[in-house]
Structure formats: C-alpha cells, structure tokens
C-alpha cells in the first residue's frame, strides 16, 4: 500500500491538516501536499481510467508530465476538467473527481474495451468506420462522440466567477525554471545590473537537486538554494516569481508566462490566473529534464511509477508509494530511489538493471545497504490489476522467458532522462541527438533568433543536456553571463554528486519481447498507445513521425507526450530500421502545459468583452426602449419599443410619425472627417468619383468612394467649409476605415500634396430632424434662419439653435424635409432633450435604424453593405450621375474601365415589387433556366434590400438583376430559402416614393 511514512517530507507541515474530497469521499492531507501526494498518502493509487480501454490508471509522475492523474476539480461554476493532481496544491475544501469512467472508478463498464485490445489497434477507428459512408454521420460519429472525450465540459450556462488579468513585462534576461541551474543563471546574469526575471512553475525552488542530494560549494544543495534565492531577492534589478510557468516562446523574444495566483489558496481572492506577456531580450531556458518510462508489459498497472517520482514523494511529502518497491533501470540515477527507500525503512526486493555491467558508485552504495541487484535483466511483465502485485524477472537480451517472480506492490522505473526542449524549440531552436546519453538536446549552433537576427534563447543546466551537478552549474553560469552580455569566467559554484557510469539505451524490455508482451507495453498511458501500435503503424507505411503520431494518437493526450514521445520515436525508428535522429521529433508547440481559457481571455469578458461605442444620446435611447443592433462597434437603436409593441409595429409607428410630422434620429455615429489644405480639392477629386473641387463653400454634395479595384466602398455627404476645407461624412461603420484610407494615400502615394485630415467623428453629436414639421420645430427652438430662402436643400450653415452652437446641414436620407443638426458632443444630449421637449406639440418621434432603412428604400437610396458587398461598382447601382466624366483620374477609375466592368451586361439595380404585395425574403435569388457547371440552379439576380413599406402599404425591395434597367415591367421568379417556393416579382423603378423629390425640397 502507499502511505505516509513516520518521518520526513521537506515540503509538508505535519501540524496542519487539510480536508478534501475525491469522488465524494473525504480525505485528509497536510499543508504543502499536492493532491497526488495526499491521495497516495491515503493509499488512493487508482485515480482514473485510460481513454480507449478504460484501463485502471495510477499516479506515475510527480510533476507536469503526469499522464494519468487527471481529474475534474471544483464544482458548479468552479468546475474545471483535466487538471493534474500532481501540480494541484492542496487547499481546504478542494473537491476532485476522477474522469473517464462509468459507472464508477472501481467498476468501469468501458473496461471491456481492454479485452478487445487486440482488435482496437492503431487506426482502428479509421479502418472500421469508413464504410459504408452514410453510417458515419448517423451511427458511428454519435457513438464515438459519446465514448470519446476526457473529463466533463463545464456547464455552458455557468459563468466562471473568477477574475483573470494580463500583465506586460519587459526584461533584459528572462530565466525560465527555478532549479539550481535557473537560480545560478539568474544570479550570473544579475551581476550585470540588467533587468532579470526568474520564473518557476511550482511553488518551490531548487528543482530536482534538492531531492537528489549532492553539494554545491561545499554546502548541502538546499542551503545553497536558500542562500541564492535570498541573494536574488535582495537585488533591485531582479524579479522572481514562483507558480509561474513559461508557457511559450514566440517571435522577437515574446514569452507567455502563466501565473497561477490563487489556485493554491482561493480564499486570498484577487485574480485567479495572470497571463504575463513578457518581452525579453534574452531568454534562458533552465527547464530541466524529464525521466522516461521503460517499455515493458504491464508498465501501466497502478503502482508502476517513475523512479524520480517515487523519490519525490518520499523526500518532499513523506509518502511511500509502496511497501515493497522493485526498481528497474538502465542508468545510475534510479539507484538513488532504491537507496532513499531503503534508508526510510522500506523494502526494496530487487534493483533490476538492464546493463550487463550494472552501475557505479551508487550501485555499490545500494549493494552495501543489502539491496539485491540483478544486472543484465529486465521485467518480463508486471502482475496485478488495479495494483501491482509482483514482477517477472527475465534476461534483458531475450524474448521474456520468466526466470523468477518477485512480489512487490510498486515498481520504480527509469529509462533515462530527456532534456525539456519545448521552450527552446517553440520558436525554431533545433535539436541534436546525443547518442551517448540517448536524448535529443538543443543544438546551440541553431538557436532561435530575435528581431536583430541574433540568438535570443540559451539553455542552462539539464535543459542543455547536463545531468551532473558540476556540469550543469557551469553551464548555467555560462548561460546567465552570456545572456547578460558578460564575459564567461570560471567562477561558477562547484557542484559535487555521486559518480555515475553511462546509461544504456533501452527502448523495449526485454529487447526481444514477443508480441504478447509488446501488446501490453504501454507508451502513451492516457491514450492507450502501445509498442505494438507504433510498430503496426510503421508496417502500414507511416514513416513520418508526424503521421505516426496522428495515426496512433501517440502523444496527443493532455500531457502531449511528455513521457511517451521519445520512447515512441525510438520504437518507430527501430521498426523502420532508421536512426533515431533521422526519424526526428514531432513539433513542440506552445503552451508547454495547458493554460486556462480565463487567463487567455484576461479582462475581455462581460462588459469588457468588446468595446461598445456609445453616443451622447445612447443612454437616453436605452432608457427609452431602444432595441439595439450592432453597427460597427456602436449599438444603435433599431427601433424604440413602447409598451405592447413588436419591432414591426414600432417601426411602422416611427415611419408614419416622421412622414406625417417630425422624427428625430441620433445620427452621431456618422463619420466626420476634415480634409484641409491647398491641395484638398485635388485630393477630394481623387477620393470621390464625383467632382468635389467644384463644390462651393456653404454647399453639400452626396459622394461615392471606391477602392482602387473599382468597387464601391463608402458614401456620404460632403460639405465644403471654405476654400481649403471639406468635411466628409462617412457611413457609421466606415469612419475609421475611410480616415485610414485617406491617410494611406496621403502618406504613401501623394506625400507631396499639402493636405491634412482629422477624424472629428466623436467631437460632434448629430441629430436628424426629419419630416414636414422639421422646420417648424427648429424655428420654435429659434436662433437662426432655417427657411427655404436662407438655407436651400443641400446647403449648410453655422449658427445657434436654442442657444446651442450648431452647424445645420439641409440634407435628406428619407425624402422628407430634413435637417441634420451638429453640436459639440458634450451638448448633444441637452439638444436632444430640448428637441424632444419642444417637439411634443408635433409628436416628435425618435426613430431607429430600421425606420431609417425603410424610408431610404422607399426613396430608392442605396445603403453601403446592403446594395454593396465588395463586388458592386457604382455603375451597377445606376449612380452614373455621381461619377464625373470630366476627371482624368479618381481612385477606382482605371479598374472600372476593365472589360467586364465597363459593360452593360451586369447585374444592375432595380426596384422589385411582388405580384402579391408580400415582402421578398432578404437575399433571395432570382432563378433562371438551366443549371451551372456545379449542378446548381442558374441565377439572374438577388434581393439586396427588402421591407414592408407602411407608406405604400406593401412589400418593396431593391435588387441587382441581370440587365435589370432594360427589363422594366418584367416579372421574374425569386426562390425562398426552402429551395422550392417561388415568389414572383415585377421589375420596377427603385424610387417608390415621391419620385420628383417634391417633399424634401420645400
């Protein structure tokens, strides 16, 4: 059984008990425990089920590489799936449940898949469910979806109650990893006085070395760690943070740091996670190394663990994973585990060393403690179901003939170590194969580079491939100095640890294991990928490691293959008869381990999800029933709903009130851009299709803007303010885009023209006063002459209304007598209130964008985004009158002379009236005879705008129809969404209302 031993545990406080639950059962741990160490201390080795076969899964590791101990954490709106028990610090009230089992962890129905294991091989799903094709959608996919997936997704109706934030930091040197290498690198760099930041993913400093023993500068490792930490904390130019993982390295020294601020103590409040967006001139990755499992039959049975993890639990948490632990290894390091266990009074029946000559100094130490060592041997298979009960000993160089069965309840395995090269690799750092040590390590001659083209990532310590204390400290010292631009000096602290002899690569145990053993030798514990699966993939032609990964799902589980990748790769290269370096690795992509969606989101949630723009009148509108719709980043009232109204009836009321008396429109969102300078007229002539330079001060003109590709881009009314100055109105969504468009041409093409622009959209509130009583209302406000004589249609004037400083434009987008009144934004609301108050006697009615749209459609006015879609030129819309023939050039003019544009044989704008008076469906296509090359019905036009017109009491529409203007009176068929129902509509003039313009010109 696994249990808490009487003494020891450098990270726990035995005086403090912490209560938590796992699968509803109450447990106790100590302060300083992880969820994994606490579960182990209570003999809860079984923590989950595997993905495919639902095999029992126990804790394997003690850190981020853990593939099995993946749990649901928290409940209700705090629920989060796929959390590693090994990196979850225990706190009061923690609740965890295991994943991927039904009905219970102990008795799982899906485990029957395991019995079929021989058949559920690599590519099983691909091979089995591909035929017959129609079965996929209705039978196979729903079934697979049901049984697939790890963990329970949070309830979509809950909202994460926690707060997350970002932080931007800029440093000269960022050191990732707080082991002895990271500490030394930071210390060496800090001497330069440059800004140094050191981050560590766990809550503790010193990494493995504090567990493994040895001395630095003659002091015990943990003393040196504490001294160094203290020194760093005292330096003004150094920042150190624990519980912060280096998640990814990106271009130009951009690094994401994932700080888990209060996961370990939710009661302290504040942000739960903080995503650090770090810009580092130099990055030192002191990310250590991960131990590799060994591939032998039954290596997935709970109780089989990494040798280093067994040591961690014992030394850090005072927990022994088993009473009798067999150690199996191909290197010296695992002997440390055996020695530690023995010294803690626990039984180690045997150390099985695959090497014929065994190990060095540490082996002798173990033997001196009375531990049996079997050299040149391996494990043929592990016995047990939900827990190890023993192992069978065999020769390593054999097929697995059992020599002896050894009783034990835990197996500590070590297949050697692999440097953590993820952060080195994220932004292009290359690897090299170290055949002696049997691992990939960073190749410093092919480092990632920064914006200056120079290397900006350097590795330190075990991450460089140095596993011995002396070497790794020297390497780290050098990395720190190099990163800070200091000369290398031989003053690194001196590390000393036990001498080791070389490891011997072991990719399969025993090396000639027969198929039955290979079928039970796991590579990827979570995704159930075994040695036999990778070999099968190789036989079936998967030669690329990337393809094999996807075919077998090796390394695709939540642990991303931290334990399985190198072993799987070695098996693949063996099966292909190729060298490991020639097969290569899969790509290392950020993040190093999963980071929360909340951290990525930061503050961009709820009200801050997206900046919503408000006009000075928005609050009034919202308080008066506005049913808002998004227009760009603005929210404009679609209509103002009164009690008992539907959207439709409200829109009808607004239109009638406007056409009969007076309506008020918040038009503040319209873009307003000043164009000024001696060359302003010339510039305006290039921007607009019209001749704008001829516009007289005091006058307004409607204008069109095209892209250089000829397509209609924006429209609006231009007012000439004085000889040098124009004010351009743009569409609501177009203000920023058109201002940028103007600046682009001025800065990058016509930089010698004397023109300045300024986007003053937000300086002004603008209110449309629209309808036959508009003038009466303005006259009631008083202050300036708005008579026909003083201000004709398409003129503007500065003046005062009811004491407000205003600019009034006599323009109309509704066909009615209409003024747009512009006032400094801070006074917009007051003017609006005044108009509402004084307008009572005229039933002044605020109207929204839908009424605006209907009224403009009744007049046949186009709307950018309805009649245009990026493929429409002004000529298509019958706007020839707004395209100057006198000008040599304007943006888009050359494009519009291309054969297919300078051509009457196009879809062109017409009005449409249904034969039965109904409203055409928006976007409906007019169908034509025959089918196109794709077997689709031919079309001859489409609806671009369609409304019920309360003025005309019938449906009206505009559309683009092939040669439309030549086909007046023709009835053509439009298809409804169902693809069957045809609606007949007659082609008519698009101006449905007041075609002579008598109403606006009064």
């Amino acid at each position: 059984m696994s249990t808490r031993v009487a003494k020891g545990g450098r990270l726990i406080d035995r005086s403090k008990t912490i209560e938590f639950t796992f699968n509803g059962k109450r447990f106790q741990g100590h302060a300083g425990d992880t969820l994994a160490s606490a579960l182990l201390s209570a003999n809860q080795m079984l923590v989950g089920r595997s993905f495919k076969y639902h095999r029992p899964r126990g804790i394997v590791a003690s850190g981020v590489e853990e593939p099995n101990a993946i749990v649901n954490l928290g409940e209700g709106n705090k629920h989060e799936p796929n959390q590693r028990a090994t990196t979850t610090e225990l706190f009061h009230g923690l609740t965890a449940t295991s994943q991927n089992h039904w009905p219970s962890l102990e008795y799982d129905v899906g485990a029957v898949n395991g019995l079929l294991g021989r058949f559920l091989t690599a590519g099983f799903y691909y091979k089995t469910f591909i035929h017959p094709r129609p079965f996929w959608k209705h039978i196979y996919e729903p079934f697979i979806r049901q049984s697939a997936g790890l963990g329970k997704a949070p309830d979509p109706e809950t909202r994460d109650p926690d707060h997350y934030e970002h932080f931007y930091a800029f440093v000269d040197v960022l050191v990732v990893g707080g082991g002895v290498a990271g500490l030394q690198a930071a210390k060496a760099a800090a001497v330069s006085g440059k800004r140094v930041m050191l981050i560590e993913q766990t809550a503790h400093w010193g990494g493995r070395a504090v567990v493994d023993g040895g001395e630095i500068d003659g002091k015990p490792v943990d003393t040196w760690v504490n001294d160094t930490l203290q020194a760093l904390e005292g330096m003004e130019n150094v920042r150190i943070r624990s519980r912060m993982m280096g998640a990814g390295v990106y271009d130009h020294g951009y690094v994401l740091g994932y700080e888990r601020v209060n996961d370990h103590a939710p009661e302290i409040g504040g942000p739960r996670h903080r995503l650090w967006r770090i810009r580092a001139k130099q990055i030192v990755t002191a990310t250590g190394a991960l131990e590799r499992p060994l591939s032998f039959a039954g290596n997935d049975i709970p109780g089989v663990m990494l040798a280093s993890a067994v040591r961690d639990y014992l030394v850090n948490y005072g927990v022994s994973p088993g009473d009798r632990t067999v150690v199996v290894t191909n290197n010296d390091d695992a002997y440390r585990t055996a020695i530690a266990l023995k010294q803690a009074g626990l039984a180690v029946p045997c150390i099985i060393d695959a090497r014929h000559e065994g190990g060095g100094q540490l082996m002798k130490e173990a033997q001196a403690l009375g531990i049996r060592v079997e050299m040149g041997h391996g494990i043929a298979k592990v016995h047990g179901g939900k827990r190890v009960s023993g192992v069978s000993l065999c020769r390593q160089n054999g097929e697995g003939n059992v020599l002896e069965d050894i009783d034990c309840d835990a197996v500590a395995m070590s297949g050697g170590w692999s440097p953590v090269v993820h952060l080195w690799s994220h932004n292009g750092g290359k690897l090299t194969w170290d055949a002696d040590k049997a691992f990939f390590k960073p190749d410093p001659s092919r480092a990632p580079i920064g914006d200056d083209g120079k290397p900006n990532v350097i590795t330190a310590g075990a991450a460089s491939g140095h596993l011995r204390l002396k070497d790794l400290l020297e390497d780290a010292d050098n990395a720190g100095k190099t990163s800070a631009g200091l000369e290398a000096a031989s003053d690194a602290p001196t590390g000393s640890d036990a001498d080791e002899v070389a490891l011997e690569p072991v990719w399969l145990m025993p090396s000639g294991a027969h198929y039955g053993l290979r079928l039970k030798a796991w590579l990827d514990y979570q995704n159930d990928v075994k040695v036999s699966d990778v070999q099968l993939a190789a036989r079936e032609g998967y030669e690329s490691v990337e393809h094999t990964k996807r075919y077998t799902t090796l390394g695709m589980a939540t642990d991303q293959g931290k334990l399985s990748n190198i072993n799987g790769l070695a098996i693949l290269s063996g099966a292909l008869g190729a060298d490991i370096p020639n097969v290569g690795t899969t790509t290392f992509r950020p993040p190093y381990t999963t980071i929360s969606m909340g951290a990525i989101t930061g503050d961009a949630r709820g009200d801050l999800f997206h900046p919503v723009r408000k006009t000075p009148i928005s609050d009034w509108s919202i308080a008066h029933g506005a049913d808002l719709e998004p227009v760009g980043d603005w929210r404009r009232p679609y209509t103002y709903l009164r009690d008992g109204e539907t959207r439709e009836t409200a829109v009808i009321r607004e239109i009638k009130a406007t056409r009969e008396s007076v309506g008020l429109l918040d038009a503040s969102t319209l873009g307003k851009i000043i164009v000024k300078g001696p060359d302003a007229g010339r510039f305006m002539d290039m921007l607009y299709t019209n001749m704008m330079s001829s516009l007289k001060p005091g006058k307004c003109r409607y204008g069109l803007m095209c892209s250089e590709n000829g397509f209609l881009s924006d429209d609006g009314v231009v007012a000439r303010i004085d000889e040098d100055t124009f004010l351009c109105h743009t569409t609501t969504g177009g203000a920023d885009r058109i201002h940028a468009h103007m600046e682009e041409w001025l800065q990058t093409e016509w930089w010698d023209w004397k023109v300045y622009t300024a986007n003053v959209t937000e300086q002004y509130a603008q209110i449309g006063v629209v309808g036959p009583n508009a003038r009466k209302l303005l006259e009631k406000l008083g202050g300036m002459d708005v008579s026909k004589e003083a201000m004709a249609f398409m003129e503007w004037k500065d003046g005062e209304l009811a004491g407000f400083p205003v600019r009034v434009y006599r323009i109309s987008f509704s066909g009615e007598l209409s003024y747009e009144v512009s006032v400094p934004a801070s006074q917009g609301r007051a003017l609006w209130d005044k108009l509402m108050e004084e307008g009572k006697e005229f039933n002044a009615t605020p109207y929204g964008t839908e009424a605006l749209h209907v009224m403009r459609a009744e007049k046949g006015f186009i709307m950018i985004g309805d009649e245009t879609d990026g493929t429409v030129i002004p000529q298509d819309l019958g706007l020839h009158w707004a395209i100057s023939k006198k000008k040599d050039d304007y943006i888009g003019k050359r494009a519009q002379t291309r054969r297919f544009m300078d051509n009457a044989d196009r879809w062109q704008l017409v009005g449409l009236e249904t034969v039965d008076g109904s409203v055409l469906p928006d976007g409906a296509y007019a169908v034509a005879a025959g089918k196109n090359a794709n077997g689709q019905r031919n079309t001859q036009g489409r609806v671009t705008s369609t409304y019920y017109s309360p003025t005309l009491e019938k449906g009206i529409a505009m559309g683009l129809v092939h040669n439309g203007p030549q086909r007046m009176g023709e009835v053509i068929p439009f298809m409804k969404d169902d693809g069957e129902t045809v609606v007949e509509a007659k082609i008519v003039n698009a101006v449905f209302y007041d075609p002579e313009g008598e109403k606006q010109n009064v």
Binding site: I449, D451, G453, A740, Q747, T748, R894, A895, R898
Partner: protein, 112 residues
C-alpha cells in the same frame, strides 16, 4: 509576435499596435495604363522566401505608415524606414547586403 520600430515616433511597437499593409513600393497605374500593368499593380505580389519589403502602419500610435525590411524565414528585421520613398533606401540595402549577401527582391539585388 513581431516588433517594429516606427521611424516616425521612435516607438518599438508590437504587432498588436500595428496594422500590416502588404508589399512595399508598388507603382500606381491609373487611367490609360495597359491591362498588364494594371493587373500587376493591383494583384501580382512577391512571395519571397527571405528578404522582403513591406508596409506597416502604426495604427495604435502615431498613425503613420512606414516601410520595413524583414526576412520572411527568420523574421529578422533589417530595418524600418520612411513611407515617403519609392524604393528601399541605400542604407537599408547595404544593411541587408551585409547580412544576406546575394539577396534579391523583384529586379533588385544586393549588388545593384
């Protein structure tokens, strides 16, 4: 995430403060130009592996357009320079020649 130093305001701006504007140094062809010239102006773009010249705008900043020379393989930035020029400056070409001897772009090369 890339960083470019805006030559107008001197800020080393990160990508989120910038807007990419595509290939640099296009010659505008207007009315009267041939179909071929117009087509190449509007649509034909370099897609180099290596040295490239681009336009960027410091949109969350001083609002100015500028030019940047960048390696599309390594993202090394050779420099940024004024938007008010029809070709890369002699200085930037010299810098690139030192770092990428024998480079070429359109009909330009390290020697020319």
């Amino acid at each position: 995430m890339l960083i470019f130093t805006c030559p107008y305001c001197g800020v080393a701006a990160e990508e989120t403060e910038l807007a990419a504007g595509g290939e640099a140094h296009l010659t505008r062809f207007g009315p009267g130009s041939s179909d071929d010239d117009f087509e190449s102006y509007l649509f034909t773009r370099e897609n180099p592996k290596g040295v490239h010249f681009e336009r960027w705008r410091h949109v969350y900043g001083c609002g100015k357009w500028f030019h940047a020379a960048r390696c599309t393989v390594s993202n090394e930035v050779f420099g940024t320079y004024s938007a008010q020029t029809t070709e890369p400056t002699a200085e930037i070409r010299e810098t690139i020649s030192k770092k990428r001897p024998g480079w070429s772009w359109r009909d330009m090369n390290g020697e020319g």
